[in-house]
Amino acid sequence: MGSRCRSSGRGARPRWFARDRGVPGVSAAQFQAEVERAFAVWEAVPTASIAFQFAGFTSAPPFDNDDLSVLGFEDEPDLDRVLGATTFVVDAVTGAVVESDVFFNSVFQWSVAPDGEAGRFDLRSVATHEIGHFIGLGHSAIGETELRADGTRRVLASGAVMFPISLGRGVVADRTLQPDDVAGASDLYPDGDFQQTTGIITGRVRLGSAGVFGAHVVAFSPRTGSLIGGFSLSQDGTFRIAGLTPGPHIIRVEPLDDADVDSFLSSPGVNVDFQVAFHPRLMVAPRGGAGPSADVMVLAK
């Protein structure tokens, strides 16, 4: 579900540039400071080795193919539902990410107020989400939404910064990572004894005898209350959830129906026509590996 950012040498930190352009309410310097704080949130994950370096301001806009990773405001009036987005330039030979740009849509009103500001989107919260993509994470599906009459979705709640839909204007909750975010970052950039002290649950989601592709599988720890998710990423319905606290977990499977399916998976054929279900066995995440596989049966809607 992710790829590591390339560093230019052993121990080097990937460099990023801030665009030297502000928007009403946010100067370029304030933008840089808030984004720096958002990077620091990911760098502070104790079980992951993530470090970045601010390289300076640039007039280059995001999304230029210039080998510079640029974060900045950009006018994208056509993307009237998109707060921000992250793109990658990938080395076709090595697969390494050589450039990653993040744009923040200046058609929206932004805030850098310490406690948020009514009517404006919190820049640091959105930056924390986009930097999650910057380091290689995809979207999390731990969240609940409801459809509005106009076809858009309203977020009822989310359990991950990497949920694809914002909690809304004036909300600063996404400045703080959730267990699903921490597990994802730590799985991509494990530090210290992360892999030896956490566990993995694997399994398969089945509808009858067929595997279910694209099911959202969540491991819930009744000990800690953490929710950590994954997806069944193959036609046979197999899934893998890493970064779990050792111990028993409840396995819950649901269809990807709380946001557009392509927010999570780009491959066609995602099955959303089944009912939410729990696995009847407590699945144990062992310390430093994977336990027995869970075979989760679901029923058609």
């Binding site: 969240g143 819950r252 939410v276 729990f278 009847p280 144990v284 062992p286 336990g291």
Partner: protein
């Protein structure tokens, strides 16, 4: 003891244990002689016993699966509540008779309790369910018993016991171990069935124990100690 090997046949194992426990209890009742017909208590230097027992469960409480809302409130995805179920098991004990009243003992107890998490109130309507796993549980403890012969009634000799031990619980699939320790205090009665003053085997009797275990660690959702009752019945041989 081989009944507790994991795999199929758990139901049969439980039935067998219950039957054995019942038989043991009935045996005690059936061999109580009339008052004044007391059988001499078996006495020797060592005692060995084996039997079956029941270890009480423990509630680990509830844990909601919460998400965050825009207002900062929590949004409950579902509720969960977890307990360690009571379980039957086998035990074996060896003792060294120090004085007429005092015996030092070591005991090994095996059981397979279930860890059960009940899930309910799913916000998307998933049916409530209880997810379970079966643990392999080993208790190794040591302590002292103190006989109170003066309080003998109908041939039953009461005793008090206390000690400490080690708890080892293997999760299903045997890929994760939780360890802990326990202290116990309790008591029970013994009833001699046969006794003699010489020979290798000095006597045979029945024994019933009741205990309160104060358990720390093991499969637990917090750092608090918990109290678990236990009952067992066994046959002992004195040498």
């Amino acid at each position: 003891m081989t009944l507790l090997v994991t795999g199929r046949g758990h139901a049969e194992t439980r039935s067998g244990l219950c039957a054995a426990l019942l038989a043991s209890t009935m045996l005690v009742a059936g061999t109580i002689p009339a008052a004044g017909q007391a059988v001499s208590e078996p006495t020797g230097r060592f005692e060995v016993s084996a039997g079956v027992g029941l270890l009480g469960g423990a509630a680990f409480g509830g844990q909601p699966a919460n998400e965050r809302t825009a207002s900062g409130a929590t949004y409950r995805l579902f509720d969960s509540s977890t307990e360690l179920a009571s379980s039957a098991g086998f035990e074996a004990r060896v003792g060294v008779v120090v004085t007429r009243r005092i015996t030092l003992e070591a005991r090994a107890a095996l059981g397979q309790p279930e860890l059960r998490t009940s899930v309910s109130g799913d916000v998307e309507g998933a049916p409530a369910i209880t997810s379970v796993e079966r643990l392999d549980q080993y208790i190794f403890d040591g302590g002292m018993t103190f006989r109170v012969d003066e309080w003998r009634v109908f041939g039953l000799v009461p005793f008090a016991s206390a000690g400490a031990g080690y708890l080892r619980q293997l999760h299903e699939g045997q890929t994760l171990v939780d360890e802990g320790h326990l202290f116990y205090a309790g008591g029970g009665v013994t009833r001699g069935l046969f006794a003699r003053g010489n020979g290798l085997v000095r006597g045979v009797g029945l024994r019933a124990d009741i205990r309160m275990n104060v358990v720390s660690g093991g499969v637990s959702f917090d750092d608090d100690s918990r109290v678990q009752g236990a009952f067992s019945g066994s046959v002992f041989v004195a040498f």
